[in-house]
C-alpha cells in the first residue's frame, strides 16, 4: 500500500455530497431555475407524421405574429451532428425528410409562451407520407422504403465477430440450448425535464449555453459545427443537472435549436421541454430481440456461445454503432468462455432515436445470457451459484476479444449474496409462489478509447491554491447527481492530507474548467479521480518543497498530513497549512497544479474493427439475489427483497457507492417489472409518467448492498466504477426468481402480469396434456 492509499484508508468515511445542502434546501439552481425573466420563450414545431418527404414548410404567418422574434427551420443548419464522427446523420431540424413522429421541424422564439404556442399553430407544413416502419422486422423487409438513402436494408450497422473456435466448443458440449428473448424499449425518465438557456451577444458575437447536459464538451463541439462559429466564442456551462442515466450523454436537438434561435433573435432564449417532448427526444435503450445459444459440459463448464442480437434503433444513428458493438463485447469479460460468436444488427425504424442508457449495450444480452445459464443449470442439476463458480475468470488476464481484466471480485460477490440471502438454507424450501433468483453482471469503468480522439489525456484536473489557503479543484466532469464533484473533493483533500472543507470544486464551465469528455461509460471516478490525485500530488510536492525551505529540511523528510507539515514525528517544528501556502507563494504568486490521466494503449482494446468498444481499465462486477412473490391468479409479481454485491475496486466514499448500487439495481428492476415504451403507428402511447410505469416507493423493495473491494491496481485508491455494473443482473435475477417460484420461463421483458398469466396458463395446459397422455398410455 503506497503512502497516499494508506492515508486515505485511515481517513475514509461516509461523505455526504458537497453540494447536498443546496439540494435539500432548494437553493440548487437547475437550468429552468436560472433567471430568465428577460429571455424569449422557445418552442419546437414537430412532425405530425412518422415518415415523409417535406413538400412545403411555410413559417411566414407565424413570423408575422406580433411578439414572435425569431423562427428557425432546417434551412438554418446545414450540418448534421451526432456522436460518432463517422455517423452524423441527424440535423437539429429536419431537412427534406422527416423520419419520426415528433421530429423537430421548426422552432419559434417569442416574447411569451402563449405567443410562441400560437406561432406554432400558424406554421404550415405539407408532407408526402412514406411507409412507416415500427419494428426491426418491418424495416428490414426486402421491399421496405429506405429511411436513410445510404443505408440499404435500413441497417445502420451489422457486426460479425467470432473469437475462438465456436464449432469445436459446441462439439465439446454435453448440453447445447438456445433461447429467444425479447426486451422492450425503455426510457431514462430522469425527473428533471430537458431545458436550455442560451444567450447570444451580438456585439461580441459570443454565445453562452447553459443546459441539462452530461457532455458539455461534445455540446461545445457540436454548437461550433452547427452554428459555424469559432469554438473560442462559445461558452458552455452546466448548472445543477437533475439526473441523466444517458439521456443527456449525446448532444440533443433542442440544445442546438435553442442556440440557433438565440442567434437568430440576437438575444436570450429559454427552452423548456415538456415531459412528452422528453420522451420524444428519447435516446434510451432500444427494443432488442436476441437468440442466444450456449454449450455446456455435464460438469457445468461453458464451452461456446453464439448470440444474434437485433436492436431497433429508431430514426437516427446516435450512439447506435456503439450500442450494437457493446452488446457483443460485453459477452466477454465476466465468465471464462473459450469461444464466442456474435452477430449484431442495428436497424433503423420510424421512431424516436435510441441512444445510451445506464449499462449501455450490455443490459439486454446479459439478461438473455443469465436466464439461459440458469435454465441449463437446472437441466444439468446444478445450483445457480455452482454453475457460475465453475466458469469464473482469474485476473489479471486478457479476454479473447482483447479486453484487459486487472481485478475481478465476482467470486466474492457470489459468496456475499449467497450468505446474506440465506440461499443455501432457503432455496427449494420456500412456500409455493415464492422464489429466489440469481444473476451476475459487469460494466466498464470508462471507455478506454474516447469517441473523439484528439491525443489529449483522458482527463485533466487543475488545483489552485492562493493567499487564503483554500484549494479550488477545477474539473470539467459533469456532476449530474452521481456525486462526481464530491469524489474529486475527496481525492484532492485526502491526497493533500487536508480536511475536505478546505477544498472547493468548480465543475463544468468551459471558460474556467479544463476540458472533460463528460459523464458517460462510468468514466469519471476512474479517470477524473486519477487525474485529481495526480494534480493534488503535484501541488503537494510544491508545498512540501516550500515547507522544507521553511523548516530547513530535505523535502523527503517532510511529512504532510492532517493539514500540517512537519519533520519527523518527535520534532517541535510544525507548520500549519496556511504557513506553508504563504511560503510557497513567495516569488510565485497563485499556484495552479495540473494532473492528468491517460489509458495506456494496451488497455484500448483489440485491433479488430470496433475493438475499442468495451475496452476499459477496469471492470466492475456484480451478483444479486432477488426474492419474489408471484400471485398465480393475477400474474402480479412483487419483489420482496434484493441482495446486491458489487466489486467497485475500492469504495472511495461508501455512502455514495451504496447510493449508486441501490439506484442501479432499482432501475434494472424497473426494466424487469414494468417499464416499457409503446408506440401506436409511431405515436408514443407511453409519453407521461403515468403511462410510463416507474416504480414508486410503495412497490419498491428493500435493497441490501454489499460492497466488495478487489483493489484495482490502476484505479484511484484502487477504485472502479459503481453505478452501472449492478443494473444488468437485476432483470435476469428477477426472471430466474419467478422461474424458481412458479416454474415458468419468461422470454419477454418486462414481466407484466399479462405475460405472467399467459405463461401460467400455458404451463397448466401443458401439464393437462401431459396428464392426459399418461392416462391414455
Amino acid at each position: 500500500m503506497n503512502e497516499v492509499t494508506a492515508q486515505f484508508e485511515a481517513e475514509r468515511r461516509r461523505v455526504p455530497l458537497i453540494d447536498g445542502i443546496e439540494k435539500v434546501t432548494g437553493k440548487a439552481l437547475y437550468t429552468a431555475d436560472l433567471n430568465h425573466a428577460d429571455a424569449l420563450v422557445g418552442r419546437i414545431f414537430r412532425s405530425p407524421v412518422s415518415h415523409g418527404e417535406i413538400l412545403r414548410l411555410d413559417v411566414s404567418k407565424a413570423r408575422a405574429l406580433e411578439g414572435v422574434v425569431a423562427i428557425v427551420t432546417g434551412e438554418d443548419c446545414r450540418h448534421p451532428y451526432g456522436v460518432l464522427p463517422v455517423a452524423m446523420n441527424e440535423y437539429p431540424m429536419a431537412r427534406d425528410k422527416v423520419r419520426y413522429r415528433g421530429e423537430p421541424v421548426a422552432a419559434v422564439a417569442a416574447v411569451d409562451a402563449a405567443t410562441a404556442q400560437r406561432a406554432l399553430d400558424l406554421i404550415e407544413f405539407e408532407v408526402r407520407e412514406l411507409p412507416g416502419y415500427y419494428t426491426a422486422q418491418a424495416a428490414r423487409a426486402p421491399d421496405a422504403t429506405l429511411i436513410h438513402h445510404d443505408k440499404p436494408g435500413n441497417l445502420e450497422r451489422q457486426v460479425h465477430h467470432t473469437f475462438g473456435d465456436v464449432a469445436q466448443g459446441f462439439a465439446e458440449a454435453d448440453l447445447v440450448r438456445e433461447v429467444n428473448i425479447d426486451c422492450a424499449e425503455v426510457n431514462h425518465a430522469q425527473i428533471e425535464l430537458h431545458a436550455a438557456l442560451v444567450e447570444y451577444d451580438p456585439f461580441t458575437e459570443r454565445l453562452t449555453m447553459r443546459s441539462t447536459s452530461q457532455v458539455t464538451y461534445y455540446l461545445h463541439l457540436m454548437l461550433a459545427r452547427c452554428l459555424e462559429m469559432e469554438q473560442s466564442r462559445i461558452r458552455v456551462i452546466k448548472p445543477f443537472v437533475g439526473g441523466g442515466f444517458g439521456a443527456r450523454v449525446e448532444v440533443l436537438n433542442f440544445e442546438i435549436i435553442t442556440a440557433l434561435l438565440a442567434r437568430a433573435a440576437q438575444g436570450k432564449v429559454m427552452m423548456e421541454l415538456t415531459r412528452e417532448e422528453n420522451f420524444l427526444t428519447h435516446r434510451a435503450r432500444p427494443q432488442t430481440s436476441m437468440r442466444i445459444k450456449l454449450g455446456m459440459t455435464k460438469d457445468g463448464r461453458m464451452t461456446a456461445c453464439e448470440a444474434e442480437v437485433t436492436q431497433r434503433g429508431g430514426a437516427y444513428a446516435g450512439y447506435g454503432i456503439v450500442t450494437i458493438l457493446y452488446a457483443g463485447a460485453l459477452l466477454h469479460g465476466i465468465y471464462d468462455i473459450p469461444a464466442i460468436k456474435y452477430d449484431g444488427y442495428r436497424v433503423y425504424a420510424n421512431l424516436p432515436p435510441c441512444g445510451a442508457m445506464r449499462g449501455h449495450g450490455g443490459v439486454t444480452v446479459r439478461h438473455a445470457f443469465e436466464v439461459l445459464v440458469d435454465r441449463m443449470a437446472r437441466e444439468l442439476g446444478f445450483d445457480p451459484f455452482e454453475v457460475r463458480r465453475k466458469n469464473l475468470l482469474h485476473a489479471p488476464m486478457r479476454t479473447a476479444n482483447d479486453l484487459t481484466i486487472n481485478s475481478y471480485g465476482l467470486a466474492e460477490c457470489l459468496d456475499r449474496v449467497e450468505k446474506a440471502s440465506g440461499w443455501r438454507e432457503r432455496i427449494g424450501k420456500l412456500p409455493r409462489g415464492k422464489g429466489l433468483g440469481l444473476a451476475c453482471s459487469h460494466y466498464v469503468s470508462g471507455a478506454a478509447k474516447p469517441i473523439h480522439w484528439t491525443g489529449e489525456p483522458h482527463a485533466t484536473v487543475n488545483v489552485k491554491v492562493d493567499f487564503d489557503g483554500g484549494i479550488t479543484a477545477l474539473t470539467g466532469a459533469a456532476d449530474i447527481g452521481q456525486g462526481s464533484s464530491t469524489m474529486v473533493a475527496i481525492a484532492v483533500s485526502d491526497t493533500l492530507g487536508v480536511p475536505i472543507e478546505r477544498v472547493r470544486v468548480i465543475a463544468g464551465d468551459s471558460a474556467i474548467t479544463p476540458k472533460d469528455n463528460g459523464a458517460y461509460s462510468s468514466r469519471i471516478t476512474f479517470m477524473v479521480g486519477n487525474a485529481a490525485i495526480d494534480a493534488a500530488k503535484n501541488l503537494r510536492s510544491l508545498l512540501i518543497d516550500a515547507a522544507a525551505r521553511k523548516l530547513e529540511a530535505r523535502p523527503e523528510d517532510v511529512i504532510a498530513e492532517h493539514g500540517v507539515f512537519r519533520v519527523g514525528y518527535g520534532g517541535q517544528s510544525v507548520l500549519s497549512f496556511d504557513e506553508v501556502v504563504r511560503e510557497a507563494l513567495v516569488d510565485e504568486g497563485t499556484i495552479t497544479a495540473k494532473g492528468t490521466f491517460t489509458c495506456p494503449p494496451e488497455a484500448q482494446g483489440g485491433k479488430h474493427k470496433g475493438g475499442a468498444v468495451g475496452s476499459t481499465m477496469g471492470f466492475s462486477y456484480a451478483a444479486q439475489v432477488v426474492e419474489v412473490s408471484v400471485d398465480e391468479d393475477t400474474g402480479e409479481v412483487s419483489v420482496d427483497k434484493i441482495w446486491a454485491a458489487l466489486d467497485c475496486g475500492r469504495a472511495i466514499n461508501p455512502l455514495a457507492v451504496e447510493g449508486q448500487i441501490e439506484g442501479s439495481v432499482w432501475m434494472g428492476l424497473g426494466q424487469g417489472v414494468a417499464e416499457e415504451t409503446r408506440y401506436l403507428e409511431g405515436l408514443p402511447a407511453h409519453a407521461s409518467m403515468l403511462e410510463y410505469r416507474v416504480a414508486t416507493s410503495a412497490e419498491s423493495p428493500p435493497i441490501e448492498v454489499h460492497i466488495v473491494e478487489s483493489i484495482d491496481p490502476n484505479g484511484p485508491f484502487g477504485a472502479k466504477e459503481a453505478s452501472e455494473g449492478a443494473l444488468a443482473s437485476a432483470p435476469p435475477a428477477l426472471v430466474n426468481a419467478i422461474a424458481n417460484a412458479v416454474g415458468i420461463d419468461l422470454d419477454q421483458l418486462p414481466v407484466t402480469p399479462d405475460r405472467v398469466v399467459e405463461a401460467l396458463v400455458e404451463r397448466r395446459r401443458k401439464a393437462r396434456r401431459e396428464a392426459m397422455r399418461k392416462a391414455a398410455s
Binding site: P16, L17, D19, G20, I21, E22, K23, V24, T25, G26, K27, A28, L29, Y30, A32, D33, A114, H188, A189, Q190, I191, E192, L193, F240, V241, G242, G243, G244, F245, E272, T274, R275, E276, I480, G481, Q482, G483, L655, A656, E658, G659, E662, G663, V665, W666, M667, S688, M689, L690, V694, T696, S697, A698, S700, P702, I703
Partner: protein, 163 residues
Amino acid sequence: MSKNPLLPSKELVRLKVNGRWREDAVADNQLLIDYLRDVAGLTGTKMGCDGGECGACTVLVDDRPVLSCLTLAVRCAGRSVETIEGLAAYSRPSALQRAFHEKLGTQCGYCTPGMIMAAEALLRQNPHPNEDEIRGALAGNLCRCTGYVKIIESVQTAAEAAR
C-alpha cells in the same frame, strides 16, 4: 371596452408564503407552481411533468401536501403555503433536510424538494411512522436515482431525531 381575450382576468390574492403574508395580482388561470417560481421567486419547487404525475412540485398548503402544478394560485387565498425554502429557518436546515443530506436521501436533487415536503407533511401528522407508512406517504413522489432506500432511511432518521 373590449377585453383582450389573451389576457386572463386577475384578482388580488393575499396568502402566506413561508410564514410571510403577501399580496399579488394573480391571473385566474395561474398555477401555484408558476406563482411560486415566477412571482415569488422561489425556484426550489420543481416541475417534473405536466400534470400531477411525478410529485416534484409538492408544497404544503395549510400543512397538507398538494401538487402545485395542479393547484390554482387563487385557490390559496387566505391560506398558508410552505415550500422547501421555508423549511430552513434562517438558512438552518430542518431535521428532515439534514437527514436527507447526511443519509444521501438526495442524489441529483431534483425530486428532493417535493419529496421532503411530502415527508414533512407526513411527520406533522404522524411523527413516528413505520416503514410502510413512509412508503405510502411518499408514493406520489417519483425518484429516479435512489431506489428510495436512502430516502426511507432519511425520513426514519429525521423522525428518530425528533424523539
